[in-house]
Symmetry: C2
Subunit: 153 residues, 2 copies
């Protein structure tokens, strides 16, 4: 499931990049119960839309999944191409999503330690494609990147 | 400024309640520089719209403020009728908003300690009106409240 989840998240990041946006993608998957094959249900997918929607707060994979019951979040896994910022990590904690699979954390190290300290399982894949997407984007639009992480130029 | 900020946040919470929503309101204010009178600019205001917009992630005061430069967030104060959940606290940390004024934290205690540990000034007003709004709402719609804080019934 993890390889497939990350492929979907990378597709979202690439879609965001093609739209002229910040190429961070994410998906929320629900593993199908008692299925040894590792099949899953896609609950929601999305990418950063700061630029496309002038949105400073959209967490699109969770937003596109819509309102879910607390029980569903607690059985889900979230996949993200980049280490989750404090806002996205806060959403993971709020909804008690128990597992986060991260494409890479070299470009940006989010709140992985906080997540772990609260009992969330954090897996970092160290995926080269995820790093390449961010490297190209930051070269192209350094200011949008600084805005995205709240950093001064 | 703090009394006015909380009045505006409470107005937002009341608006949310009238709409059949979860009555949590918030505003983002920028103190006017070198003004001893305590005047300010209203950057954004909003209320929880989980029910109205089927949104599990909207942080409406920040969303309605639109894209702001990192410099502006770092001079602003956010007012919220209720202690901020981990997602909203994460947004405060992401954008390095230095000061949070909270109506009450009896109904729900958010991530105040995390905010303080990261250097954010946290002021709790212990406002009775804020508590009353939440008390009535939770009696009316206990399930929506549990969903909002990710708790099982």
């Amino acid at each position: 499931m993890d390889a497939q989840g990350m492929i979907l998240a990378i597709s979202e990041a690439q879609m965001g990049h093609k739209q002229g946006g910040i190429p961070i993608g994410s998906v929320l998957l629900l593993p199908n119960e008692s299925d040894a094959e590792g099949t899953f249900t896609l609950l929601g997918s999305g990418h950063n839309e700061r630029i496309q929607k002038s949105s400073p707060t959209l967490i699109s994979a969770l937003e596109n999944a819509g309102r879910l019951s607390p029980e569903v979040y607690r059985k889900s896994t979230i996949y993200t191409t980049l280490s989750p910022c404090s806002m996205c990590s806060g959403a993971i904690l709020l909804y008690k999503i128990p597992r986060v699979v991260i494409g890479e954390n070299e470009t940006f190290l989010g709140e992985e330690e906080l997540l772990r300290s609260r009992g969330v399982e954090v897996v970092v894949l160290d995926n080269e494609e995820c790093k390449d997407i961010m490297r190209r984007f930051i070269q192209e639009m350094p200011q949008a990147w600084n805005e995205d992480i709240g950093e001064l130029r």
